[in-house]
Amino acid sequence: MIATLLAETASYAVPVNIVFGFLAALMLYGAVRVVTTSNVVHAALWLVVVLAGMGGNYILLQAEFVAVTQFMVYIGAIVVLFLFGVMLTRTPGAEGVVSNRKMVPIGIVTAVLLFSVMAYSLLDTFGDDQVRPTAGNPTQELSDAIFSSYLLPFELVSVLLLAALIGAIVLARKE
């Protein structure tokens, strides 16, 4: 099973696999930097790398609309929000002490255990299932689904966003 996975991933004749391998390596390195770097601004910039790689993966999976949304919402809005948060809360002299030393072994053990359980169950369940290319136009199907069967949740999400923004303004406003 793992051999099938490695053989498939290593068959670099397929250009999609080359792109996937490049994106995956970039994203994993970026994610590790996000949780280990001692500079808060660098963490935000590495987060951009991870989010952009994620958008590339969505394009590989033929979900172009979600990829564009990912680029606009995450990289355009959320990372800018993070940078504002970093700027507004900078504590002088606190640079370089952003990890809890006592928690590092616990964190590593938890992450490794969690990943081994998940990897085992994933390899066991989806051994060598292929990603089927979708027929038709995914963006058209997506819009049809949003505005027919998912109409009510869609409207509720817009109300949720409004409520969250008003709540954020009320919380952050100076009296």
């Binding site: 099938t4 996975l5 498939e8 991933t9 397929v14 999609v16 696999n17 996937f20 994203m27 994993l28 994610a31 996000v34 949780v35 808060v40 963490a43 987060l47 991870v50 989010l51 994620m54 993966n57 590989l60 999976l61 979900a63 990912q70 919402v73 995450y74 959320i78 993070f82 504002f84 948060g85 507004l88 809360t89 504590t91 952003v98 990890s99 928690m103 964190g107 590593i108 938890t110 992450a111 998940m118 994933l122 390899l123 989806f126 060598d128 299932d129 990603v131 089927r132 290319p133 199907e141 997506l142 689904a145 998912y150 949720l160 966003l161 409520a163 923004l165 954020a168 303004i169 952050a172």
Partner: protein
């Protein structure tokens, strides 16, 4: 393309995010790790969406919207903490400890 490529990448990113939530002390960095976790879930949804119709993409869009709301409120809370304590170290927030 195996579906497990994407699922394993997503699992790795999820675990890195969990490590970040456990280890980081700065409130903004904990929020960034939560973003990593939410993104890895999105990758799962999209990968399965390719298998079973378009529902996965719709769910991923909802997750993106809720994540945007979460970051807005979360950063407002972090700013309030900073205004009250002049620090965003989460370990110092122990007023409610008995």
């Amino acid at each position: 393309m195996l579906i497990n490529q994407f699922l394993l990448l997503s699992a790795l990113l999820f675990c890195i995010g969990v490590y970040g939530v456990l280890v980081r002390r700065n409130g903004v960095l904990v929020l960034m790790s939560i973003e990593l976790i939410l993104n890895s879930v999105n990758l799962n949804l999209i990968a399965f969406g390719g298998q079973h119709g378009v529902d996965g993409s719709v769910f991923a869009l909802f997750v993106i919207a809720v994540a945007a709301a979460e970051v807005g409120v979360g950063l407002a809370i972090v700013m309030l903490i900073y205004r009250n304590k002049a620090s965003v170290e989460l370990d110092e927030l122990d007023e409610m400890k008995g």
